[in-house]
Symmetry: C2
Subunit: 204 residues, 2 copies
């Protein structure tokens, strides 16, 4: 029996650097998981290639796919749709390969409902821990600025509870190393490994 792959979801507040971290992961030769290319209705930017950076679709095509249930998650940003084609994800997992999604928090929430066993990683900006220092050393910023930053940080932390792991994006290399360690560890969890050994010994 083929062991199913792991669905790895990287998300976090916008601007945290999810895309940069994802690109670094997939530029490394020893990365053994597959990247699920998103679908979008926005126009390709200079140098972007269909089927590499995104699957570019018209609004009509995208909405037809939504109706057909062909999207694992989708959301609309600034007038454009972004989503994850479900077939590629399912087929790749069934082949026993890990699939990596880099998506917005709203999409991650939708995926969590469909794949409760997925591996959900929340990328946080280092400002979240620098925040404490700023609050403590006061005076350098107005109370209003501090309050705004505090509230923004609190909102980010509220989103954490849907995730399994939290990685601070202080440096891209550090974040990538941590994400890779999380994936290695997840494959070694007793709950995942034990049934395999048990099945092994039933072959008799």
């Amino acid at each position: 029996m083929q062991e199913k792959g792991l669905l790895i979801v990287l998300s976090g507040p916008s601007g945290v650097g999810k895309g940069t971290v994802r690109k670094e992961i997939f530029s490394q030769e020893d990365t053994a998981f597959e990247y699920s290319i998103s679908m979008t209705t926005r126009a390709p930017r200079q140098g972007e290639v269909n089927g590499v950076d995104y699957f570019f679709k018209t609004r009509e095509e995208f909405e037809a796919l939504i109706k057909q249930g062909k999207l694992l998650e989708y959301a609309e940003f600034v007038g454009n749709y972004y989503g994850t084609p479900v077939d590629y994800v399912q087929e790749t997992l069934n082949k026993g390969k890990d699939v990596f999604l880099e998506i917005e928090v709203e999409g991650a929430k939708q995926v969590r409902e469909k794949f409760p066993d997925g591996l959900f990683i929340f990328l946080v900006p280092p400002s979240l821990s620098e925040l404490k220092k700023r609050i403590v050393t006061r005076g350098t910023e107005s109370e209003e600025v501090i309050n705004n930053r505090m509230n923004a940080a609190k909102e980010e932390i509220e989103m954490m509870h849907l995730y399994d792991y939290v990685v601070e994006n202080d440096k891209v290399e550090n974040a990538v190393e941590k994400i890779k360690a999380i994936v290695i560890a997840e494959h070694l969890r007793r709950e995942r490994v034990e049934p395999k050994y048990k099945r092994m010994l039933e072959v008799n």
Copy 2:
């Protein structure tokens, strides 16, 4: 507030190579956890140093420590006591440092009861996965030999259920790399990290 350290317990069937893996971990410069030296009543072997390899004690001293509740776990093997002094473990964890124990399965069971939040890693021999091949390719070994190996493997698998992670000791370097990844990941678990961020933002 000081974050408490993590109690890391490496165990597994005897002969699996726990000691070799532990020595390799502590020979690496980037290892950031503390090794808890065991206590024993057995005589020092050639080259073994008190307080480095073991704390060597007399039987009377050891039994007094048991009565005083000074051992986190202990067991008797071939007429000698082996155990883990509890004070060092507690003090080190309280300083926020990770403590690493390399102990027998019987001791690990005792530690699990006292530290349910510890990180328990079960080292398995590669023979467990080779076993399947041997069963499948039959004929090379007698049915009795296969049955004996099957039963031994089943007993090992029964012990797994108390552990959080299972690492196959195919090569010492691989096992060490996996154990280090597990420790990195464990520190990034949302349940561990979230309270820290929440406390951070309450400082106002």
